[in-house]
C-alpha cells in the first residue's frame, strides 16, 4: 500500500540502493517447488515482486537462496551495520539494534515517507538502561532473560523509551543471543533497543555478502569502534537485574508479561489485589485452559514450534540439537522447525543438524515467519497448546483458539521430548562438541 501511495503521487523510491525487500510473513514453509496455494498470499507476493522491480529495489523473493525472516537476513547478509539507521514495517525491527544500529519498526504511512524522502520524523525518545550482571546458569538463555525482564517491567514498562542493554552479562552473550534481547524489547513497549558494538559484532559481519570489504572494512571497523557507549552515559531510567539465579521462563497467559519460572505455579486471580488485574488473569487462564495454581510442569502440550525472528538462528538450532540428539519427540506432539532463513537452513544442513532433528521426529521446513504469526498454512487448531520459541502469546496469534507458551529453544525442545513442560536443567544437555557436527562449529 505504501507503493500504491507513491504511484498515486507520482513519487519514486528516493534511494533504491539502500532499500531491500524480502518475502517472509506469509510464505509457505513447505516444498518450494510447489505452487503457493493461498491465493491471497500469492497475490501479495506477486505484488511485492512487481513493486520492487518497478521501483528498482532488490527483492529476496520466495525462491531466493537468501530468503528468510527480514530480521535474520539483514544481519547475516551484512545489511545491518553498526552506526546505521534502519527502518522496517515490522515491530520486531529492534532486533537489528544488537549491532549498534538505531532500528525502528514503523507503519505503512511512515514507510511511504521513508521511501519518498529517505528520512523519518522522530521525537527523541527517552533512554532506559537495562544493566544485566552475572553469568547465565547452564540451561538458561537470553530468551529467559528477556521474558523475565518483561515480566518485571510489564508490557508498557518501556513505552516511549529506547532500551540499551549493558553490563557484563550482555558482553558475554553471543551476537545471536543479543538479538533475542533486542528483538523482544517491543514486548515491553520499547520504541527500540540497542547494544554497544564490540569485536563480536564485527566478527559476525566480516565476510557477509553486503558487508564492506578490503580498505572499506578497515575504515568501517575503525568508525564502529568509536560507537562504544560512554562510561558516563546518562539515562532517563536505569534498571539493574542480576541473572545468576535465573531459572528457565514459561509464559502462562496471553501477553509476554504473563510469565513464570518453570519451577513456579501458574498464578491465581487471588494472587492479585487490583480488580482489573484479577479480571485479566481470569480471562487469560480461561483462554489458556489452565487451572489456577497448577504446576507449570503439569502442562501438557500438543505442538512445538521452533522458529521466528526471536529464536531461529543457527545457535538456536544447535540448542535444540543439544536436547534432542539421540532422543525422540513424544509421538502425539506435532513438532516443526522453521529455520530463520534459507542460509541458516543450508548452514544447519552442512553441519548435519537436520539429520538429528529428522531422526528425533521433527519436521524440517523452509524459512518464513510461519507459526509465529500464522499468516500461512502453519497454524494451531482451536484449543491446541504450543511450546513456541516465538515472541507473542496474544490470543489467536498462532491460529484461532490456539494457546501459546513462549519459551527458549532449549525448553521447547525438552517439551517436545517429554510432551509437557520440564525444567531443561534437569535433563542431560549435550555440549556442542558432543553433537559431532560436520566441520565443527564455533559459537
Amino acid at each position: 500500500m505504501a507503493f500504491e501511495g507513491l504511484r498515486k503521487a507520482g513519487r519514486r523510491v528516493s534511494r533504491p540502493d539502500l532499500t531491500f525487500a524480502v518475502m517472509d510473513h506469509n510464505v509457505p514453509t513447505g516444498d518450494r517447488a510447489l505452487p503457493v496455494l493461498d491465493d491471497m498470499s500469492g497475490k501479495q507476493m506477486d505484488a511485492l515482486a512487481r513493486n520492487s522491480a518497478e521501483f528498482g529495489i532488490t527483492c529476496f523473493d520466495y525462491l531466493s537462496p537468501f530468503q528468510g525472516i527480514v530480521h535474520i537476513i539483514g544481519p547475516e547478509l551484512g545489511l545491518t551495520l553498526p552506526g546505521t539507521t534502519i527502518v522496517c514495517g515490522d515491530s520486531h525491527t529492534a532486533t537489528h539494534g544488537a549491532f549498534g544500529a538505531l532500528a525502528l519498526g514503523i507503519g505503512t504511512s511512515e514507510g511511504e515517507h521513508v521511501f519518498a524522502t529517505q528520512a523519518l520524523w522522530l521525537r527523541k525518545p527517552k533512554q532506559m538502561d537495562i544493566r544485566l550482571s552475572g553469568r547465565l546458569p547452564n540451561g538458561v538463555t537470553a530468551k529467559d532473560v528477556i521474558l523475565w525482564i518483561i515480566r518485571r517491567i510489564g508490557t508498557g514498562g518501556a513505552i516511549g523509551h529506547v532500551v540499551e542493554y549493558t553490563g557484563d552479562t550482555v558482553e558475554q552473550l553471543s551476537i545471536e543471543e543479543r538479538m533475542t534481547l533486542t528483538n523482544m524489547a517491543i514486548e515491553a513497549g520499547a520504541r527500540t533497543a540497542i547494544i554497544s558494538p564490540d569485536e563480536k559484532t564485527f566478527n559476525y559481519l566480516r565476510n557477509a555478502l553486503y558487508a564492506p570489504q578490503g580498505d572499506e572494512w578497515d575504515a568501517a571497523v575503525q568508525y564502529w569502534r568509536s560507537l562504544r557507549t560512554d562510561s558516563n552515559a546518562q539515562y532517563d531510567t536505569s534498571l539493574h537485574f542480576d541473572v545468576n539465579n535465573l531459572a528457565p521462563q514459561v509464559t502462562w497467559g496471553t501477553n509476554p508479561a504473563m510469565t513464570v519460572s518453570v519451577t513456579e505455579n501458574v498464578p491465581s486471580p487471588e494472587d492479585f489485589a487490583d480488580a482489573s488485574d484479577k479480571a485479566a488473569v481470569m480471562r487469560a487462564l480461561k483462554y489458556m485452559g489452565l487451572q489456577p495454581g497448577m504446576k507449570v510442569t503439569d502442562i501438557r502440550i500438543d505442538v512445538v514450534f521452533i522458529g521466528s525472528c526471536t529464536n531461529a538462528r543457527l545457535s538456536d538450532l544447535i540448542d535444540v540439537a543439544r536436547v534432542v540428539k539421540g532422543r525422540r519427540v513424544t509421538p502425539s506432539v506435532r513438532t516443526m522447525i522453521v529455520p530463520g532463513s534459507q542460509l541458516v537452513k543450508r548452514r544447519a544442513e552442512q553441519l548435519g543438524l537436520h539429520r538429528i532433528f529428522i531422526e528425533a521426529g521433527f519436521e524440517w521446513r523452509n524459512s518464513g515467519c510461519s507459526m509465529c504469526i500464522a499468516m500461512n498454512e502453519d497454524k494451531l487448531g482451536n484449543g491446541e497448546r504450543c511450546a513456541s520459541t516465538s515472541n507473542r502469546n496474544f490470543e489467536n496469534r498462532q491460529g484461532p483458539g490456539g494457546r501459546t507458551h513462549l519459551v527458549s529453544p532449549l525448553m521447547a525442545a525438552a517439551a517436545a521430548v517429554e510432551g509437557r513442560f520440564v525444567d531443561v536443567r534437569e535433563l542431560d544437555l549435550l555440549n556442542v562438541e558432543e553433537l559431532e557436527l560436520k566441520g565443527g562449529f564455533n559459537a
Partner: protein, 208 residues
C-alpha cells in the same frame, strides 16, 4: 491524506480491557487484504465472531446502545504489539474517530496520528470514570483538540498532547510534501556526508 482534525464529537463506547494488542484489533489473517476500505468488518474480529464466522452476542460495539459510537474508551497500553497500520484503518473504517486510554503502544500512536485518528491520554482514574459513565450508552463527548479538553454534560477533563502530533492532526497535511519542501536540501547534504563504507555493496551477485 487525512482530513484535518480539530474536534471529535460522538458517543463513547467502553472497552474494559488493558493491553489490547494490534493482533486483537485486527488479526493477521486480514493483513493480506490489499485494500484499506472495508477493514472495519474485521475490527476486533476474534472477539466479535466465532470460529464459523458467526457473530458472538454482546461485544460492546455490536450492542444497540453503542451503535454509531465514534469514541472508544479503553484501558492502559492500547495498541501494543505489531506495527500493522491496518489496526488504525480498521478502527477508522468502523467509525471510530478518537480513542481515550491511559497509554498507547508507540507505533500505534504514531500510525494513528498519520491517519487522523485522535488518541487522547488521560489518567487511569479519568479513563475509568469515563468508561463507567459510558456504560449507560448515553455518554456523548466533545473532544476538542484545539483546547485540549474532553467535554461532557457534567464535566470536562483537560489532556496533554505532543505539539507535533497536535499540529499534524490539525493540519491534515501530506507529511511527505512537507518534508520535501522544507528539508530536501538538508537530507541531500546529509546523504552526501554518509561514508561509502556504510553503503551496501554485494561482493558477488546475490543470484549466484
Amino acid at each position: 491524506m487525512p482530513e484535518p482534525v480539530r474536534e471529535v464529537v460522538g458517543k463513547a463506547a467502553p472497552l474494559e480491557a488493558d493491553d489490547v494488542d494490534t493482533d486483537q484489533i485486527i488479526p493477521a489473517q486480514f493483513l493480506k487484504v490489499i485494500e484499506r476500505d472495508g477493514l472495519g468488518r474485521y475490527l476486533f474480529y476474534r472477539w466479535r465472531y466465532d470460529e464459523q464466522g458467526k457473530p458472538v452476542q454482546g461485544f460492546v460495539l455490536d450492542r444497540e446502545e453503542f451503535r454509531g459510537a465514534g469514541i472508544l474508551v479503553v484501558g492502559r497500553n492500547f495498541g501494543i504489539g505489531s506495527s500493522r497500520e491496518n489496526a488504525v484503518w480498521a478502527l477508522m473504517d468502523a467509525g471510530i474517530k478518537c480513542v481515550i486510554a491511559t497509554s498507547f503502544g508507540d507505533i500505534f500512536y504514531n500510525n494513528a496520528s498519520k491517519n487522523g485518528l485522535l488518541c487522547v491520554k488521560l489518567s487511569g482514574e479519568s479513563v475509568k470514570h469515563l468508561r463507567e459513565k459510558a456504560k449507560s450508552g448515553t455518554l456523548s463527548l466533545t473532544v476538542s483538540l484545539d483546547d485540549q479538553v474532553v467535554n461532557y454534560l457534567d464535566g470536562k477533563i483537560p489532556f496533554e498532547i505532543e505539539t507535533h502530533i497536535k499540529e499534524r492532526l490539525r493540519s491534515g497535511l501530506d507529511d511527505i510534501a512537507m518534508t520535501l519542501s522544507m528539508y530536501k536540501s538538508k537530507i541531500k547534504h546529509y546523504e552526501e556526508k554518509m561514508p561509502t563504507f556504510l553503503m551496501p555493496k554485494a561482493r558477488r551477485s546475490p543470484l549466484e
